[in-house]
Amino acid sequence: MKLLPFELKKILFSKKFLYLTIGIIVAVALLLVRNIIFQSYIQEEERQEVDDLLDISYENSEMHQAIMKDNPDDEDEKEKLLINSSLVNMLYDLRSMIGGENWENRLALKNEYLNRVIEYKEAEGEHPLTFREINHQLALNQKLIDENIPPENETYSIALPNFMKQIVDLFIYFGAIIIVLLLIGEIMSSEFENRSVNLLFTQPLKRTHIITSKFFGSIILYMLTTAIMLASVFLIGTIFGEKGTFDYPLIMERNHEIQFMSISEYIILGITVISVTILLIISLCLLYSLLFKNTLPTLFAVLATLLAGYALTAFITWNPLAWFNPFQYLLPEEIILFQNDSVWWQGIFIILALTILFYFIARQKVKTSKVD
């Protein structure tokens, strides 16, 4: 393990690491600035949403009236018309409550409206919201009222927990992969490109130690970068954002039943699954570096493997196969929030197994690796 400090030093003191750290902090700060700027926009957006719903009700109303004109005794149509006009009234009330202090009442009214929409749809009325969407919204609103947690805007929230979720979402959606590839994508291939691998090869070292130290070095660097990111979110969010609560509920489905997950739980699961995937990517990167000895093909092969793997496994909907699918955490939100006939941790074993496999193949490969 004499190599490990040397490996870490090589990257920690490189300009790349410095810029990457600055980049992450700046990105976090910029996102918060954006959210602060867009605070006033939240109400406008809500109003727009209500207006769109109103438009729908007006169009529906015209439709019902046309049918009634043709057949004034149509009871079904009369019923729908009645529900629809109560929907319109509720929407007007909702509109006047936007920006008000009393969020509990607003949510309660929203739920009343949604329940009425269900009634309307069951009477074969037309509405673009599906039952599933309505049920999700209903459950979330009720939960917020029960727990006495004020609702937060999903995109522009400046409450620390919700803001952290936004960042973590970016991170688990390719963010972590891009950061890791930028940071350690050339950890092995650049040694070949620069010929510096010859220095390592002409030292009294077991060659397998080179792979081991690079592998663990990469993991440490990844953890360090993740820690820097979370720390910067925490600091920036605490100083410039609002307090909020990490118990903020997120809607999830478990075996087709609506349940809740707290933001803290979501963040932990998200970072866990993406970190496991990162292990696989690091081992792939090392292996491909030894095969291609060149950064660009290595990078391409890693991304192509992930993409092709994901695309191929997306075709297969047979549930038990998920235990053998190492690519499922590339878009992890689905896996975490929709655990229908599946559990969030089912991909971890195969990924770890493959990581170990690739790591050992790389160790074997380096023994005979030559510089051409």
């Binding site: 037309e126 673009p128 060149n294 950064t295 660009l296 990078l299």
Partner: protein
């Protein structure tokens, strides 16, 4: 300049990574062709389906006739009417079968038009213009119009021909027993995704895959190290060029032009290849095949597939231009291939992800990242889903063009600054 471009091109084409990627591209093209070929619905399949249907009906009628012999009174009358009804169906199906055997598309389309057209008037009469349950008025109207277009221009329609395999963006709800709304819609969407292995239709399918962020990333990798490989600004073989009587800016410009030129050649090559494969295995297809372009407030226009594809290629070229300009910017700044490619990918990723949150703002259509789903932009499907009709083809071309230009100017500026600093 021309000599430089030829020199650059030679360097790129001779690199084994480029060659391997081109082979991968070709293999993917052929594999996908096989997939499309297998999934193409043929007239023979359609005829076979009809024949089995007729057979089952006839069998059913036979059974009923036997039952009729032993039946009496009201029951007999009941069975008789059932038989008559089925006979009518069989007769219709036989007529259709004959049309399919003769490949009389005009008549088949006419059948569909006659069947669907009356619905339009009815829906209008009841003000059902802005509904959400399939089939919406928009869906029926477009189906009839497209059938008329094909009838009038003598276009061979893609199979299967029926209104059960046509869905538009306004269909957001569907009542099917034993299925949730989402499942039913997904099922229908799959059925309306019709495959054809003829040249122009395959090109449509293939471009649908290629003209996305994935295609752009593939092209980025093809030329990922064109600037950094020679250590632009560092010690590297670029000094060979620098010590020749060529201006530094000319080198960068010639690299950029080479990349654009090679991309064009690859795209044209794809078109030619698709023409060849299609014609050899299936046929050319119809240039005039109708493509639905969404308009504001549930209006629409139809354009022909040929024009549609040309427009799409144009837009994808602009996307490549945009991507390359970012790549060149980062190449000049970082001088490392990993950093250049990685940062370009990061920008594209963050751009496409964040831009989604700005769709309703008034400047949304100036953000070039919105336009990466080329076919959706050209059909205006994106405008419909985003409910913002500023996302038009023209706005896309303009915003991509202007941003690329700005990025290129910045790149040039940085390159000049670097040169000055290295001289001082």
């Amino acid at each position: 300049m021309l000599k430089l471009i030829v020199f650059e091109m030679k360097k790129i084409v001779n690199s084994s990574f480029f060659r391997i990627l081109m082979i991968v591209f070709l293999l993917f093209f052929l594999a996908y062709y096989v997939y499309v070929y297998i999934n193409t619905e043929r007239v023979e399949d359609e005829i076979r389906n009809l024949e089995t249907m007729i057979q089952t009906f006839e069998q059913f009628i036979q059974e009923k006739e036997i039952a009729l012999e032993s039946a009496e009174g009201a029951e007999a009358a009941n069975i008789q009417s059932e038989i008559d009804f089925q006979r009518e169906w069989v007769a219709k199906d036989k007529a259709t079968l004959e049309l399919y055997e003769q490949k009389d598309w005009k008549a088949i389309l006419q059948q569909e038009i006659d069947q669907q057209e009356p619905q339009i008037g009815q829906m209008r009469y009841f003000n059902q213009t802005h509904t959400y349950t399939w089939p919406t008025l928009f869906t029926v109207e477009t189906y009839v119009e497209m059938s008329k277009w094909m009838r009038d221009k003598e276009v061979t329609p893609l199979l299967p021909i029926n209104s059960m395999s046509w869905i538009t963006l306004y269909d957001q709800d569907m009542n099917v027993q034993g299925m949730s709304e989402e499942e039913a819609l997904k099922d229908l969407a799959e059925r309306s995704d019709k495959y054809s292995s003829t040249s122009i239709h395959y090109l449509h399918q293939f471009f649908g895959l290629l003209f996305s962020i994935f295609g752009a990333v593939f092209f980025l990798f093809l030329f990922g190290d064109v600037v950094t490989k020679e250590g632009f600004g560092r010690n590297g073989s670029i000094h060979l060029l620098r010590t020749q009587p060529v201006h530094r800016d000319t080198i960068l410009a010639s690299k950029f032009l080479t990349v654009i030129l090679l991309s064009t050649i690859i795209l044209l090559g794809t078109v030619v290849l698709s023409m060849l494969t299609g014609v050899i295995f299936d046929g050319f297809g119809d240039w005039e095949y109708p493509v639905l372009i969404y308009g504001e407030d549930r209006t629409f226009t139809l354009i022909n597939l040929g024009t549609f594809l040309i427009k799409a290629v144009g837009m994808f070229m602009m996307i490549l231009l945009f991507c390359y300009s970012i790549l060149f910017l980062f190449s000049v700044i970082t001088r490392r291939v990993l950093a250049a490619i990685g940062l370009t990918l990061a920008v594209l990723l963050i751009g496409t992800r964040w831009s989604g949150e700005f769709v309703t703002s008034s400047i949304a259509h100036f953000i070039p990242f919105h336009y990466f789903q080329v076919l959706d932009v050209v059909t205006n499907e994106m405008a419909v889903t985003m409910d913002n009709y500023n996302f038009s083809y023209t706005n896309g071309m303009v915003s991509l063009g202007i941003t690329s230009l700005i990025v290129l100017i910045v790149t040039y500026g940085i390159s000049v600054l670097q040169y000055r600093n290295s001289n001082s």
